[in-house]
Symmetry: C2
Subunit: 206 residues, 2 copies
């Protein structure tokens, strides 16, 4: 119970992570978090100036780890670009089969705080999603694809769609369908991009 050596702030953030993700923002009180962290509420308020502040810190703490995971899945996947993109979706399907999976914390927080567009956590969430989009765009760009930005956005849309749809139906298979859609869109972009080694007689564009 008493852990004099533990860093209280980290403990609070860890507890907040688990509870906010598992139950939702407004469903969790700072009393809940304090209890789970083994501190009093006042200690929570010592380290975070308000609940909103803690919510922001919660999302911020997930930003880099989540992005790193996506990158890892992409980089470690076998095959060409379409396969690597599809791999992200297949990994999400796997994650979603775990009983504690409850969708994307960023998306769920955005949905819950939709009435507070200026909330600091909303900005963190938007920035996170944008980073993912730009990273993917850069990957496409590096391979010389045309329309990298639009393609990246399409993949992002499928990804967020997968998160949402899986949550609604509790059916991770949707991630695989989304992965196949993403694969098709990437393949299409690869095939229609500037010359690679095309055996087709593509006409120059008007």
């Amino acid at each position: 119970m008493n852990r004099p050596n533990s860093n209280a702030r980290d403990g609070i953030l860890t507890a907040a992570n688990k509870l906010f993700y598992a139950e939702g923002i407004r469903a969790v009180s700072l009393d809940n978090i304090a209890e789970k962290a083994g501190v009093t509420k006042k200690t929570v308020y010592y380290h975070f100036k308000s609940k909103d502040d803690l919510v922001e810190a919660y999302l911020a703490s997930r930003d880099q780890p989540n992005l790193a995971l996506y990158r890892k899945w992409f980089e470690e996947a076998d095959g060409g670009l379409p396969d690597k993109v599809a791999a992200i979706f297949y990994q999400i399907a796997t994650s979603a089969r775990h009983p504690k999976w409850k969708g994307c914390g960023f998306l769920r927080t955005a949905a819950e705080l939709a009435n507070m567009p200026g909330h600091p956590a909303m900005k963190v969430g938007a920035a996170h999603k944008k980073k993912f989009e730009l990273w993917l765009e850069q990957e496409f760009e590096n391979l010389g694809l045309d329309g990298s930005a639009a393609l990246s956005r399409q993949v992002v849309l499928l990804l967020d769609g997968a998160f949402s749809t899986i949550l609604v139906h509790r059916d991770p298979d949707y991630a695989e369908t989304a992965g196949e859609a993403a694969r098709a869109l990437v393949e299409r972009a690869v095939n229609s991009s500037t010359p690679k080694r095309s055996g087709q007689m593509e006409s120059a564009n008007p």
Copy 2:
């Protein structure tokens, strides 16, 4: 079933609709709803047995109207199948530009109640999304497309992705990107399908 078709009940449901959609489920109290409806909380409890019951009624009341809207957008759109599908997305982009737009109520409710998978409102939400998916699948099927089910799911994923992503970035343009992705996927399915014989309304001329 009972038919409590009183004025008060409708007023309460209307108020619940506005408030739940605008602010979120847990952010709105029955006191808020009662006040907005111009009745006392006890009257709310006379017509709805609990807050959960009212949340369920809120989503149920949006089921048919929303589906009708999607159908209308689809049916009234010019062009071939890909255009009709894309039209839904363009209409969503337009809706999303209204300042009071706050995403898809079904999705946001699912996100907020993700910790209560058995909640009656969750079932209503899942059923609603499934109806849309099956309607679209049937439209594809009617045109003799192969893989209608998978294609319908892909479009659904893009649609829910658009709702989510627009909400995160407050940028309705994502709906247009999603629409183009959907168009591409539908075109691909049309082109790869076994020759269909049904003369459809798609014009032969670009």
